[in-house]
Structures are given as structure tokens and as C-alpha cells.
């Protein structure tokens, strides 16, 4: 596929600006020549239809949620309702400047406050910030909150360690490190959960906190969670929950009831805001009362007179994380989604996410090795080891592309060899589930007959397997 640069023809334009309707002066008399650009940036020159066709063509080389099943584990690729997009584009919201003042922003602030309350209560926590731009920034905020709390307690130099399980998302250790903590991994037991004995041995008076995804990245609920959070609290640390898997427990359980002190949400996972090819996300963070004073400024509040505002007067706050108030456009979409589902609908989301994952587990457990054979939550992790002699999980995944299905996440979590992590979500139909299951069975069957069909896959995509090594060696990063 050629780039828009290669299609450029000198002289063409895709957009026109109006003539100046004010008296003009030569530009050099307004801005000194030394500050002016001498050579135009090499941007494309294309007519509007060429630009539209180019990006339409590019879009057809992608695969979206509306193309078909997208069982990417840990990403919650559910349907993104169309109404979300319309609501986010209402002029009153879209044209609002972040600094137009509380009086002229009551609609935005009202929405932020109400959404904050809904999310806070969903997790059973005491206070919330909507500011983090994504889950990873939410994690960073969480680590900074712990840092601030320790500073207030005069224990910053003493408590230096963040513990997390070996099945954790890679963002967890990276976020902890940036906030100046050391990271210690604690191992999983044979059931894929935190090994309590090893965990207890890792906890001492240098522990600052513990990060956990629950249900964990194997799709299993940490049944010892009350004991785990108690151990950390007894040692003087804080418990952080990575909310990547909240889609499993809506309407059933709340992180606050499990002993967590901090939780982040991924609105782009659980609450249906579109992934956009990798952003924008939104990663609100809720906390227990003890940590509330440290939340980033500003916080959306409801005044006694019933109006809404932004509270900047928070002297113990860790500060700001974003220039303005977070991914407001994403907040509108999440609010829309929650209103349409209501509390019963949210419970139904998790009911069906879990039902679908267990259905896949049952129907595929004779085809793939199931390292942890127990009732799962919203996702199931298989191992591809031994499924097809001579083929890796990546070969099976690539072959799925030929069946018109987006592959599941592979090689994560790291503790399962040849992992395949399947998250069907609630928005898939039974027919699509059956098609997916049949496709995987067919792939294993054809692989056993001729492994090359898998090794050579994909056969039908716009490009075949790409040379990653060449890309990293030659580093061609611009046109």
C-alpha cells in the first residue's frame, strides 16, 4: 500500500481557507524574517477525494468490531454503541473550551459529577478522579497516591517496594518504576492465583503497595483476595486494583468490598468507548477516603446550591496529570452507555461475558490444553503447546485471520507457555461463538494434516507475514 505522500501531486489541495477579510500587512512586517520558515514542510498535496479514498482504502485493511468477532483477551472488544458517537459530538459538549468557566460549563460538569458517582459506586469506593487519559496513566496516578500517602506518614524512604504477581500486565511494573518504587514479583500457584505462602514471605515493613488485576489475567477470581488485602494492610501497605477485567464482575462484586484502596477503570474496555486503533482511552481512578485528599486536581464536585464545579483547592493533591480535565469526550460515551444499561443491564453484561467465556472453555478444552481447569470469569486462557506438532500459537492465530476472525491475545500472560487468551464479551451471539469454536477446531485439524497451512498463514490478508527483524534493523520510520 502506498502512502499519501507517494500519491502527492504538486498544486493539488484538499481544503481551502477564506481570503483575509481584514486589511493585511506583508507577513515579514508582522513577524521577523529570522523566525519564519524558509521551506514548506513536505506535506502531501492531494485533492479532497484523493485523501478520502486513500483513508477509505486504508480503513479496509483494518478489522473492526463491526467486521466480526474480536475475542482479544484483556482488551474487552465489545460493541461500541452508535449513539455514543452522536452524543459526544453534540455542539454544547464538543465546542466547549475547558476554561470557559463553571457557569458556562454546567452540562459538562454535571455529567462528570454524575459519571464519577456511578463509577465510584460501581466499585464501592469513596472518591474518584476522571482525569487519567488511559489505564496506564491511571496506574501512575495510583502509584503517586501511594507515594503521597507514604510521604504524609513519613515513611517514603522506608517503604520502597511494590509487589505484583508474575501474571501482571506490563504497564503495572513500568508505572511503579516511574514513581520511584522497586518492583517485586510474587509467584502464582498451581491454580494460577497468588501463592499465599510465597506472598506472605515477600511482605515486610518495606512494602508500599500491591498491584493486582482481579479477576486476574488468567480470567480467574483471586479467591483469597480478602486475606491478601488484609496481609498488605497489616503490613502498612496499600492495595491497588488494575480494573482491566471489571467486565467480569459488574453487578456481582466491588473492589472496595475486597479490600482494595485504589482502583482504575478502563472506560475503553468495560464502558464501551471505542479503542480507536490504540487510543484515546480514559482511566478514572477511585480510592478509599484516606487517599481522597491526594487525588489529582481538579475534582468535579456538586455545590450545596445544586450547581456543579471543579475543585482546585486541594492542598494535599499530587497535582495535575493532564492539561485539562481528562478525556471528556470519552466520559460522555461511557455515561451514555451506563444510562442505557442501568444497574440490571450492567449485571447482565457480566453475566453474559462470563457465560460466553465458560462456553468457549467447555467446547475447546478437548482441542487445546487448559492449564487451569476451573470455572473461569470473563476470559479463558488456553495453552497452544502440543495442539499442532510443529506449529506455535502465533501460527494458529495467523491462520484465524484467514477465517475472517480477529485472533485472541497470544503469549500473555507470560506464565502460560504458548498462551491464547480469549475474551468473548457479552455482545457476541451464540452463532458467532460457535463459528469461532468451529474455526479453531478446523485449524487444528488442518494443521495436523499439513502444518505448512499454518506456518504459511495468513493467506488472504492484504499483506502476508511481515519481516519484523528487517523493520527493527533498517528503522525506516518516516516517508
Amino acid at each position: 500500500m502506498s502512502t499519501i505522500f507517494e500519491k502527492s501531486v504538486p498544486g493539488r489541495i484538499g481544503y481551502r481557507l477564506p481570503e483575509a477579510d481584514v486589511p493585511t500587512e506583508p507577513i515579514e512586517s508582522l513577524i521577523p524574517d529570522a523566525l519564519l520558515r524558509k521551506e514548506a514542510p513536505n506535506l502531501p498535496e492531494s485533492s479532497q477525494i484523493e485523501v478520502v479514498r486513500h483513508y477509505t482504502k486504508l480503513s479496509k485493511m483494518n478489522y473492526g468490531v463491526e467486521d466480526g468477532f474480536y475475542p482479544l483477551g484483556s482488551c474487552t472488544m465489545k460493541y461500541n454503541p452508535k449513539i455514543n458517537e452522536d452524543m459526544a459530538r453534540l455542539a454544547g459538549f464538543a465546542d466547549a473550551h475547558a476554561w470557559q468557566g463553571e457557569e458556562l460549563s454546567q452540562g459538562s460538569l454535571h455529567l462528570m459529577y454524575d459519571l464519577g458517582e456511578m463509577l465510584r459506586q460501581t466499585a464501592g469506593m469513596d472518591a474518584i478522579t476522571l482525569q487519567p487519559a488511559a489505564g496506564s496513566q491511571g496506574e501512575m496516578v495510583g502509584m503517586m497516591l501511594i507515594r503521597k500517602a507514604l510521604e504524609k506518614r513519613g515513611e517514603l524512604g522506608k517503604r520502597t517496594k511494590i509487589i505484583l504477581p508474575d501474571s501482571a500486565h506490563g504497564t503495572n511494573p513500568a508505572s511503579a518504576m516511574i514513581c520511584g518504587f522497586e518492583v517485586m514479583e510474587t509467584k502464582s500457584n498451581k491454580n494460577g492465583k497468588v501463592d499465599l505462602e510465597a506472598f506472605r514471605a515477600n511482605v515486610d515493613d518495606t512494602v508500599a503497595g500491591f498491584m493486582l488485576t482481579n479477576p486476574n489475567t488468567l480470567g480467574l477470581f483471586e479467591e483469597d483476595i480478602l486475606e491478601i488485602t488484609q496481609i498488605i494492610h497489616d503490613a502498612g501497605g496499600y492495595c491497588y486494583m488494575d480494573g482491566a477485567n471489571l467486565n467480569a464482575i459488574l453487578g456481582h462484586a466491588r473492589p472496595g468490598d475486597m479490600g482494595f484502596d485504589i482502583v482504575h477503570y478502563n472506560l475503553h474496555k468495560t464502558f464501551s468507548t471505542p479503542h480507536g486503533g490504540g487510543g484515546p482511552g480514559s482511566g478514572p481512578v477511585s480510592v478509599v477516603a484516606e487517599l481522597a485528599p491526594y487525588l489529582p486536581v481538579p475534582v468535579a464536585v456538586k455545590h450545596d446550591d445544586g450547581t456543579y464545579g471543579l475543585d482546585f483547592d486541594r492542598p494535599d493533591s499530587i497535582g495535575k496529570m493532564q492539561a485539562f480535565h481528562g478525556s471528556f469526550g470519552m466520559l460522555i460515551r461511557a455515561y451514555t452507555y451506563i444510562r442505557m444499561l442501568g444497574s440490571d443491564g450492567l449485571k447482565s453484561v457480566s453475566d453474559h461475558a462470563v457465560l460466553h467465556a465458560n462456553y468457549i472453555k467447555e467446547r475447546l478444552k478437548d482441542t487445546f490444553n487448559l492449564p487451569y481447569d476451573e470455572t473461569c470469569m470473563h476470559e479463558v486462557v488456553f495453552s497452544g503447546r502440543g495442539a499442532v506438532e510443529g506449529a506455535h500459537m502465533t501460527d494458529i492465530a495467523k491462520r484465524l485471520l484467514d477465517y475472517g476472525i480477529h485472533p485472541s491475545s497470544i503469549y500473555f500472560p507470560l506464565i502460560v507457555p504458548e498462551a491464547m487468551m480469549i475474551e468473548p464479551t457479552e455482545t457476541v451471539s451464540k452463532e458467532e461463538l460457535d463459528e469461532f469454536i468451529d474455526a479453531l477446531k478446523a485449524i487444528v485439524k488442518e494443521g495436523k494434516q499439513d502444518v505448512n497451512v499454518l506456518l504459511e498463514a495468513p493467506h488472504t490478508t492484504p499483506v502476508r507475514r511481515l519481516d519484523d527483524v528487517k523493520a527493527a534493523k533498517e528503522l525506516i520510520l518516516r516517508a
Partner: protein, 445 residues
């Protein structure tokens, strides 16, 4: 009861439960301890229909200022530029809107190709050698620039212009605390509004990790970037630029910048009450392995066909975990795509025209204001933003709002140490009539 987002019927549920061998869905939640289930309290929120939801959201949106009733002169890092219709329509294509990060390259060539194009355009605009495929916003991109400068120089002391966007400065302050940085504030010249170069020279004797400058700065004044790199030696010159200006103004790369960051919202996006935004990040090739963020690289497939993949992933958190260059996972993909399309439409010469048109209108307004006896606070060169001198800015602001004009509050400039000014921003959307009306309103205020 059925819901339009969940396809399963009673028959589907029964068939799946039978296959699993469970009597009820509730049974599948056996992993959650009873004690935790017993504590559960429901949100108690009714489910609205699409119609009811739309009515509710429309009511909320109307609680904000009606954009038809106000003329905006607000900017300060969040701009009201025209967005061609084609941008929004392309972003609504579900293949762009709903897809995930391009981990499966064969089925993500659309995303990977535009990422490559975006990186190219950021390099062109900034005059830098390499750019990543976006960051969360201009402020967090600036924070990432500090983290990177620290990684390369192994130092923690930064000289920071007092004239950078105060909201960005507040974000840097958060990182200052978390990373234990030392900040030396560089004042601006009270006449020109430009960086106090003597103060830079003095700070440079302190063994710096970097010098942080914004141009045009928060007061709208264009900085003299020439010679700064020589003054600070091995320390990083980090420039935060308004990318709309870069069709007209000399790119920071020309003056030896080590990192250039931009807030990209001005290129193809509505203000959206301040988010989502778009961080742009560019550096020189020698530092590429220390650069944060996703990168698309060109390669070939097994048949020799050109294609794109995510590359240098060994820097990233999902591979390197605690040793990653950054904790960020995704980026602001959809906004970066919008900016790529915007720049493709406006094209090689259009961006300069855009800068000139903005500058002509802003300078017309400033001349008219001066003629009416309202002074501009700084005499340094500016593009489309400038500060006017008023004795009681908050009162003036409120009077303007009551007449239908939106301007930034006095509090933002106060954070830069200016308590007798208002910042005015003029985009191509403002007509001469609106500019003249603002002059009259200010004369009366």
C-alpha cells in the same frame, strides 16, 4: 428482559449452560467468595431507552454555553479552529474507530500505514529526525520529554521558562515531586515577553538535564530559539510548539532542539472541553532507543510487498516491564489519525496560509485595540495570540462574557505572574465584524 446490546436469548442461555453443565449463570460466579457477594450494593439505576438517553444527553449539553450565542477568543493551548468535514467522517469509519492497537499487523495495515504517515508529518513540521505515533496530550508529552532527558543525561535539574502553558507547568510539577527533580524558573523579559537569555546562561552553569521552552509561549510571543542550544551544551533543548504555527514559523529542529513536543488538538479537532487531546513527540535519531511511545516501521512481507509493523518494541512496557522507557501502553491513535487526515487535506502550502490568515487577523485586532487606546502587554513578535493590558482583568472578562464574548479568565495568566492582562486568541473563524465588536466591547469595558 432483552437488551439491544446483548444478543443472548433464553434458548441461547439454556443451550450454553447445558454445554457447560451449570444450572444457572449465578453458579458460574462460584469463584467470588460469598462474603464479598454479601457486601454488594447495587447502583440502583434504571435502564433508559436510546430515545430517553438522547433526550437526557441533549438536555445536559444545553446546560453548557450555547456555542451559537458566544464568540470565542479563547485559546491558551486549546483552540477553536475549523475542522474540515472529511476529517470527522473518516474517523467515524468503524475500521479505524473500533479496532485495537495493531498487534496483528496483517489485519492492521490501515492503522500501521497512517501511523507511519503521522510520524513523517510530525518530523516535517518540527524539523526533527524521528517522531513517535502520539502521546496522551501536549502536557504529558512534555513530562515524557523530561523523563527522557533524565534517562539520557542522568541529571535531574531542569531550567523551565516561566512562560510555558501554566497547565503544562502544573503537570510538570507533579513529575517534579514524583521524580524529585529540581526546577530553575527562567523569567521572561517584561518588555518583549521573550525568554530572559541572561537567566538561561546563568542556569546553564548548574549542570542541567534540560531547558524547557514553549514557542509561541503562553503569552503568544514567539521565542528566539536561535543560540539557546549553544548556551546549554549537553543539556537537552526541549521545545513545546503549537503545531498550527509550524507551517509559517521556522521549525525548532532548525535551532538544535533535542526534543520537540506539541499539543496537536489545533490540527483537526474540536475543543471537547479539553479532552481527548493529542501529544506529539519528536527527537533526533541518536536518542531513538530512549524515546517513549509506539513506533511504526516500514518492512516487507514474505512476498516482498511493502508493509508496516510496530517496531523497537523492546523499549516498551509489555516487553521490558519495569525497565521500559515509559509506562504508556496505547497512545491517542484516533486523534493522531484525524491530524494526519487534516494535514493531508490542508497540504504543503495550506498550513502556511492558515498561519498567515490567523496572524493577519490577530494583528488587525491588536492594531485596532491599540488605536482605541488598549495596550498590548508585550512588544515581542506574535502569531495569533497576545496579551492586552487591563487593570482589572477579571471584571473585564465578566463584562465581555455578558456581551457574548468568551475570553480566558485572569487566573491562567496569573499563574505566569501576569495579573494585569487578558489573553486573546484569534483563529481563522473570527470575522472582521466580530473583531470590531470585540474592540467596541473592550472600549466600553
Amino acid at each position: 428482559m432483552m437488551h439491544e446490546f446483548i444478543p443472548a436469548t433464553d434458548a441461547d442461555r439454556q443451550a450454553m449452560l447445558d454445554a457447560i453443565g451449570a444450572a444457572s449463570i449465578e453458579e458460574l460466579f462460584v469463584g467470588i467468595p460469598d462474603e464479598i457477594k454479601a457486601r454488594f450494593e447495587s447502583l440502583d439505576l434504571p435502564a433508559l431507552t436510546e430515545l430517553e438517553t438522547r433526550q437526557q444527553l441533549q438536555a445536559l449539553a444545553s446546560e453548557n454555553a450555547n456555542p451559537d450565542q458566544y464568540v470565542s477568543f479563547m485559546g491558551g493551548g486549546l483552540y477553536d479552529h475549523d475542522v474540515p468535514s472529511a476529517v470527522g467522517h473518516m474517523l467515524m469509519r468503524q475500521e479505524f474507530l473500533t479496532c485495537y492497537t495493531p498487534y496483528q499487523a496483517e489485519l492492521s495495515q490501515g492503522t500501521l500505514t497512517w501511523m507511519f504517515e503521522f510520524q513523517s508529518m510530525v518530523c516535517e513540521l518540527t524539523g526533527m529526525e524521528v517522531a513517535n505515533s502520539s502521546m496522551y496530550d501536549g502536557a504529558s508529552a512534555l513530562a515524557e520529554a523530561l523523563l527522557m532527558a533524565e534517562r539520557v543525561t542522568k541529571k535531574k535539574r531542569f531550567a523551565i521558562a516561566k512562560s510555558i502553558n501554566p497547565a503544562h507547568r502544573q503537570v510538570l510539577n507533579t513529575f517534579q515531586w514524583a521524580r524529585e527533580y529540581e526546577f530553575i524558573e527562567i523569567p521572561f523579559d517584561p518588555q518583549t515577553g521573550q525568554l530572559d537569555r541572561a537567566a538561561v546562561k546563568q542556569a546553564a552553569q548548574e549542570s542541567l538535564a534540560g531547558l524547557i521552552v514553549q514557542s509561541p509561549n503562553f503569552t503568544g510571543v514567539i521565542e528566539e530559539l536561535s543560540g539557546l542550544k549553544d548556551m546549554i551544551g549537553d543539556a537537552f533543548l526541549v521545545v513545546s510548539a503549537n503545531p498550527m504555527s509550524l507551517g509559517l514559523l521556522a521549525p525548532p529542529g532548525q535551532f538544535g532542539a533535542d526534543i520537540v513536543v506539541c499539543e496537536g488538538q489545533a490540527l483537526g479537532h474540536a475543543p471537547n472541553f479539553g479532552g481527548p487531546m493529542l501529544g506529539m513527540f519528536a527527537t533526533q535519531k541518536q536518542y531513538i532507543r530512549q524515546m517513549p511511545g509506539r513506533l511504526a516501521g516500514q518492512t516487507v512481507d514474505k512476498e516482498g510487498k511493502t508493509g508496516y509493523v510496530m517496531t523497537l518494541q523492546a523499549r516498551e512496557q509489555h516487553i521490558r516491564r519495569a525497565k521500559a522507557t515509559s509506562n504508556i501502553c496505547t497512545n491517542q491513535a484516533l486523534l493522531a489519525l484525524g491530524t494526519t487526515i487534516y494535514l493531508s487535506l490542508i497540504g504543503k502550502h495550506g498550513l502556511r496560509q492558515q498561519g498567515e490568515l490567523n496572524a493577519q487577523k490577530a494583528h488587525y485586532l491588536s492594531r485596532e485595540l491599540n488605536a482605541a487606546g488598549i495596550e498590548t502587554k508585550f512588544n515581542g513578535p506574535f502569531l495569533n495570540e497576545f496579551v492586552i493590558q487591563v487593570s482589572d482583568p477579571q471584571a473585564t472578562k465578566e463584562k465581555l462574557v455578558s456581551k457574548g464574548f468568551l475570553v480566558l479568565g485572569a487566573d491562567t495568566l496569573q499563574l505566569c505572574g501576569i495579573d494585569d492582562g487578558l489573553l486573546l486568541t484569534v483563529t481563522e473563524k473570527r470575522t472582521r465584524a466580530e473583531l470590531d465588536q470585540l474592540v467596541s466591547a473592550l472600549k466600553e469595558a
